[in-house]
Subunit: 235 residues, 2 copies
Amino acid sequence: MNSEKLKVAVLGGTGNIGEGLVLRLALQNLMDDGLKNEIIIGSREPESAEEAAKKDLEELENCGFDTTKIRISGKSNLEAAKAADLIILTIRFSHVPSLLEEIREALEDKVLITPVVPMVKAGPLFEYRPPAEGSAAQAIREMTPESTKVVAAFHNIAAGKLKDVVKCKAVHDSVICSDDEEAKKLVMELTRNMGCLKPLDGGALKNANTIESLTPLLVNLAKLNGLKNLGVNFS
Amino acid sequence: MNSEKLKVAVLGGTGNIGEGLVLRLALQNLMDDGLKNEIIIGSREPESAEEAAKKDLEELENCGFDTTKIRISGKSNLEAAKAADLIILTIRFSHVPSLLEEIREALEDKVLITPVVPMVKAGPLFEYRPPAEGSAAQAIREMTPESTKVVAAFHNIAAGKLKDVVKCKAVHDSVICSDDEEAKKLVMELTRNMGCLKPLDGGALKNANTIESLTPLLVNLAKLNGLKNLGVNFS
C-alpha cells in the first residue's frame, strides 16, 4: 500500500451487497478523516463492471454528493484484483473456488475480505451450511496463497440499509476476524468510516463460523417475525 | 396448567442466570398484565434452594418491591420439577444428562426451557462445542419423554444485567425456538413480561444451534473489545 489512496477491488460489485459497499466506501472520500480510497468494481464481464461504476457515480450525484473527489471504475475480476491493495469478495460461496483460481496471480500479499456466507434454502427458511474447513473464511484461507491476508467482515449487513446512503442512519455492528492483526486493524478502520457500521474485533479467523451463521439467522428472524432488513448489535 | 398461576421451576436457580431469571419472573406478579407465577427454585440440596429463595425475596424487599404478591420457595430438583408446569434448566451442559435422569418422572407433558450452552475455554476465548445432535436443545429433546415440550430460550442474556432489576433497563432480544408452537407462544409471553427481554420467534428447535453459539461469541467480543455484560439486538 504505497499509494496515498487505498485501492479497493469489489469483486461482484454489481450485486446488492457489492453496490452498497461501493457507495459507502466512495463516501469516505468526502469525510474529513478516514482512509481515502479508489474503487475498482470487478465482474466477469468488464462492461458490466464499467456500467455498475457509472451507475454508482450517478446514484451518488443524484443524492447530491460532490463526486469530484470520488473514483469508481470497472474492470474484469483479474484486472480489478491486480490493481487493488485490498480485495472484497461479494459473491456466492459456490462461485468462490473458480474466482480465486481466476485471480490467483493477483492475490500475493493482498488483503482479501470475505463477507461470504454458505447457506441454503430449507423450506421457507435458510440454513447455514459451512464447508468441512469450518467456515467459508477458513475454506478461502486454504484456497489462497500463504501471503494473502484473509479477513472475515461485512457478513451481517442488510443490503437495503447499506445501499440507502441518504436515509438510513442505522449503525450495526460488524464483527471482524483475521489471523493477521495488521490486516484486521486496517479493515476495522475502513469499517469505522463506513457510516453505518461499528467494527468489533472478533479474534482469529476460525471464529468466523458463528458470524457467518448469523446471516441465515437474520433472514429467518425477519421472515418469522414480520421484520425486514435486519442487522445485529451487541451491547 | 390448570392453576391460576403458572408454576415455574428454576433448576439451578442458585446460580447467576438462575437468580436473575427468578427475580425477573417474580416481578411479573407486580405488573398489571402478564402471566402471574409462583417460583420453585430447585437444587441438589433442598437447603441451598430454600436459602436462595429467601435471599431472592430479601433482595426484592431491599430494592423496595412489595413482596406480598410474590411466592418463591426452594425444593430438591425432583420436587421442584414435580410441582411445576414449566421447568427452566439453568445448569451446565455436562450436568444435564444426570439431572434429566433424576427428574425424568416429572417431565411428562411439561414445558422444558433450555438456555443451556455447551462451550469450552480455548486459550483466552470460549468455543461453542455442540453435541452430535447439533445443539444442547436437540440433545435435550432426545433425552426427554416425547410429551415434554422443549423450548430453547434465554441463551444470550448477561447475568449481570438480568440480576440488576432496579438499575438495568436495557432490553435485549431473546430468540426462542421450539417444535411445539403452543409452548413457544407461552414462553414468548413469559419473556415479553420479563422487563429486560424482547422475544423473537426463532422457528424450530433445530435452529437453536446458532442461538447457542452466540453466547461464546458475546463473551469473546466483550473480552476482545473491552466491553462487558453484552447482549444482542436484531434490528
